[in-house]
């Protein structure tokens, strides 16, 4: 083996080592990105529309969106849920692309059967959740959701509440919100982002 051949072999080894180091570095930095993901909200257990317990740990590995509202809301809540159903269809990845969670901020009126009756309207799988007033207060607080009763004439009430949709990717990372007055195009892009 000539000295020249040995030199070439050595240089090739150096290149391989450098490439390996680079790959390790990139992997390490993407792990760092994972570790610094944004989180929002504490784990919770609520009751779904069938009356069964729903543990937020069942969302692990699934992109999901959360919207807080109430079934006596005639305008913003049904329109938001209808839009999520429409955008999920437009995404073209099926109903499993992301899970839609509707969390009631009105546990006094929104029993599981009320929720079941309500979400039938949207012709798409929606997980509707309610609980005791304390359970709901804990969940809204931990997700930074404002919800307060506003009395109406005649002794009834409506609910003032945060109306943005919270977006979570498959790793449970919080990936931002969709506002009510946001147009469909950026909203669809945000939903694409959590499903990719």
């Amino acid at each position: 083996m000539s000295l020249r051949t040995i030199r070439i072999v050595l240089w090739v080894l150096v290149a391989v080592a450098a490439a390996g180091a680079a790959i390790l570095y990139v992997q390490r930095s993407s792990q760092t990105a994972d570790e610094t993901k944004l989180t929002l909200g504490a784990p919770f257990v609520l009751t779904d529309q069938t009356g069964k317990g729903f543990d937020s740990r069942s969302l692990e590995g699934k992109p999901h969106v959360m919207f807080f509202g109430f079934t006596h809301c005639p305008d913003v809540c049904p329109n938001t849920l209808a839009r999520l159903a429409k955008l999920r269809k437009q995404l073209g990845k099926g109903d499993d692309a992301f899970q839609i969670l509707f969390v009631s901020v009105d546990p006094e009126r929104d029993t599981p059967s009320e929720l079941a009756n309500y979400i039938k309207l949207f012709n798409t799988p929606v997980t509707a959740l309610t609980g005791t007033p304390k359970e709901i207060a804990d969940v809204t607080r931990s997700f930074g959701i404002y919800a307060r009763k506003a009395p109406t004439e005649g002794g009834g009430y409506t609910m003032d509440h945060s109306a943005q949709v919270l977006l979570f990717d498959a790793k449970g990372g919080f990936r931002g919100t969709i506002a009510f007055d946001e147009t469909d195009e950026p909203a669809l892009q945000k939903l694409k982002n959590i499903t990719s």
């Binding site: 305008d75 849920l81 109306a163 009510f180 007055d181």
Partner: protein
């Protein structure tokens, strides 16, 4: 109760006047949910300023007027007594803004609902509103 009867009589009398051509209503829609319904429409005004004072289903069931506001992402909905219709302008009852609201279930059978809009100055206007599910979705069979 007596007030209600008197109000009904007044409204009936008001309904006898000729329709003022200044106001026209388009795209009247009832967006129905199991526990409530929203009324959306565009009220066009070619005349002087007026106010929308009420909407009724079938001339009987009153629909309250509401205004939705969104501040820092928090939705608030409040009942209002009347809504301004600017002179030579338009009042748009729409999602996230001013709209009519009915509590309880609105029957979607037949798919059109007669609505009567009442005003402070102009004569009432009756229109046939299209009943849809939320977000304009067609109503599910069996509702």
């Amino acid at each position: 109760m007596r007030n209600t009867a008197l109000l009904a009589l007044l409204l009936a009398l008001a309904g006898c006047g000729p329709a003022d051509p200044a106001l026209t209503i388009s795209n009247a829609t009832v967006s129905a949910s199991p526990n409530s319904a929203a009324v959306y429409a565009a009220i066009h005004n070619n005349g002087g300023a007026d106010r929308l004072t009420g909407i009724e289903v079938d001339g009987r069931v009153p629909i309250s007027l509401h205004e939705t506001t969104m501040t820092d992402g928090v939705m608030r909905m409040r009942a209002v007594e009347a809504l301004d219709i600017p002179a030579n302008g338009r009042l748009h009852l729409k999602s996230g803004g001013a709209h009519g609201m009915a509590m309880g279930q609105v029957s979607a059978n037949p798919p059109n609902l007669p609505l009567t809009f009442r005003f402070a100055r102009n004569a009432p206007i009756s229109v046939s509103a299209t009943v849809t599910g939320p977000g304009g979705m067609p109503m599910e069979q069996g509702h």
